[in-house]
């Protein structure tokens, strides 16, 4: 463990915490522009977090300790997830603690707790949202695992830093399996982050909401933590996608200069990705909930074909 490694690890965590709300603001701003509205401004998510942290948190009378603990668990899961995904550098002291499979497990842990907390108070919307979240989760997780497998078959390691190091710093090679995995990953991230074809992040309409139904009972600092965790999740997924499919610009170990250059590269890639996401959300309509299994089934199948294309050696 080098000093530089510790620095880049800390930098990465701080960056994730600070940039994640900005990414959400950026996407919302683009969506507003594309829909001919003027938009709330880039800093709106920070203002929202500030407001929520200063508000009193209201709890239901029969809320169990689990309900109170869940926001902290979810937030720390997402924070750890964004800490082990190599965004700036591949020299991360925390990354041996968790590989790609454990990363999927982290997301699953957060999902289980947020669903349990939603059912805890016993409102109809909470359990409705929890069921839908679980429906999406159990279909998206195997697909995500398959995507990560098809990426990890190339360097023959499931450690995220090794994968990114291999993909970013070996001589230029085009892997057809990654093309399949990339499309599958895009579909999974749309579903997992409650973006438009699967769920609308801005709706509070009872019949269609998934993510909003889960956190309906929360207020004050708990809601702030959950909102922050949601933006961290989006940030983590974006960074994972960038790290696997567009890994150029991520710094190697013992290269302080590259670390300096990695930051603008990451911001640029996230800005382009966020704008593309906004375009995608604007041009597509939300699908019926019963279409979601088909959508995610397609993603799973694409990921499986990615693995097959690699194994059968095209």
């Amino acid at each position: 463990m080098s000093v530089l490694g510790v620095i880049s690890q800390l930098l990465e965590i701080a960056l994730a915490l600070l940039l994640a709300p900005l990414l959400v603001g950026w996407i919302n701003q683009w969506r507003a522009w594309l829909q001919n509205r003027s938009g709330p401004g880039l800093l709106q998510p920070y203002r929202l977090l500030h407001k929520l942290f200063n508000k009193e948190s209201v709890l239901a009378h029969h809320a169990s300790p689990l309900f109170r603990a869940a926001p902290y668990i979810v937030f720390s899961c997402m924070l750890l997830a964004s800490a082990i995904i190599p965004t700036l550098s591949t020299d991360l002291p925390l990354s041996p603690a968790a590989d790609a499979i454990a990363l999927v497990g982290l997301f699953a842990l957060a999902r289980v707790f947020v669903s349990l907390a939603a059912m805890d108070v016993g409102t109809a919307f909470g359990s409705l949202g929890a069921r839908r979240e679980m429906l999406i989760g159990f279909l998206a997780e195997p697909a995500l695992l398959m995507v990560l497998f098809s990426a990890s078959l190339i360097p023959k390691s499931t450690s995220l830093t090794t994968i990114v190091e291999t993909l970013a710093h070996r001589d230029l090679a085009i892997y057809p399996s990654l093309a399949f995995a990339g499309v599958a990953f895009a579909m999974i991230s749309l579903a997992e982050n409650a973006r438009v074809p699967v769920d609308n992040p801005t709706t509070h309409l009872e019949l269609t909401m998934i993510h909003e139904a889960l956190i309906l009972e929360y207020s004050g600092r708990h809601l702030a933590l959950l909102e922050w965790a949601a933006s961290l999740k989006l940030f983590a997924y974006s960074c994972l996608g960038l790290a696997l499919f567009f890994p150029w610009g991520v710094a190697e170990a013992h290269a302080p200069l590259e670390l300096v250059l990695a930051l603008p590269a990451l911001v640029l890639k996230l800005a382009v990705g966020g704008a593309l996401l906004a375009v995608l959300e604007t041009v597509s309509a939300k699908m019926r909930i019963f279409r979601v299994p088909e959508f995610l089934g397609t993603a799973f199948m694409l990921a499986v074909i990615g693995v097959l294309v690699h194994i059968l050696g095209v």
Binding site: A179, E294, T298, M301
Partner: protein, 219 residues
């Protein structure tokens, strides 16, 4: 250089397979035609890269022919046909989409295994993509079987021709020019005849559902 070219060919091959899968999962005819056009573009790109690497000028010619035919002319004809038949939002398949996908995966594994010994014999630069080409042929075949309407079946037929063409390019650097011209003409004439055919089916049965054709007599 040659390594990068091989990888590029592999990438285009993967795109062709990806589009074949997108086509069997697509329900709307309009999107189906767009996907078919995209597949044509990927095919043109793959052929051109093979031609560039092996310095075979006749492959450029066949790429140009494919572009003219499958990216411009046939999609244009199909657009006209569906506009005049008014079937832009047709949604019908005999098997539901997830099952189709699963069968598709099985077909891909089968095709890859089948093509592996042949690809090992091939000295061509893109020999490894033979499995993908074969998988495309089988997938389009399946698309023709599971669709009950005439227009998707025609598109499946054309997509199968795409797969065959790609197989020829990847295994043996393309067919002789005479054969290629003949096939191009055949496809063009075929689509014209099928277009007329579709109008006739509609005239007779007031629908494009080919299940009506199973009855021999009109009652």
């Amino acid at each position: 250089m040659s390594l990068l070219a091989t990888q590029l060919i592999n990438l285009f091959a993967a795109a062709i397979l990806l589009l074949a899968f997108a086509m069997i999962s697509q329900r709307r005819i309009l999107s189906l035609i767009h996907l078919f056009t995209l597949q044509g573009i990927a095919l043109v790109a793959a052929t051109a890269v093979v031609g560039y690497v092996t310095r075979q000028p006749h492959l450029y010619l066949s790429a140009g022919l494919t572009f003219l035919l499958k990216v411009i002319l046939i999609p244009l004809l199909l657009h006209r046909v569906i506009k005049r038949l008014d079937v832009r939002w047709d949604v019908e398949a005999l098997i539901n989409v997830p099952t189709t996908m699963l069968i598709g995966i099985v077909l891909v594994i089968f095709a890859f295994n089948l093509a592996q010994p042949i690809a090992r014999l091939s000295l061509s630069i893109a020999g490894g993509t033979l499995g993908i080409a074969l998988a495309c042929v089988l997938l389009s075949f399946m698309m023709m079987i599971i669709r009950s309407k005439a227009v998707p079946q025609v598109i499946g037929f054309l997509s199968m021709e795409n797969g065959l063409f790609f197989a020829a390019t990847s295994a043996t650097y393309g067919m002789p020019m005479v054969v290629e011209l003949g096939i191009a003409l055949d496809v063009l004439v075929g689509i014209l005849i099928l277009g007329v055919f579709m109008f006739q089916i509609r005239e007779q049965f007031d629908s494009l559902d080919i299940r009506h054709l199973e009855k021999l007599k009109d009652s």
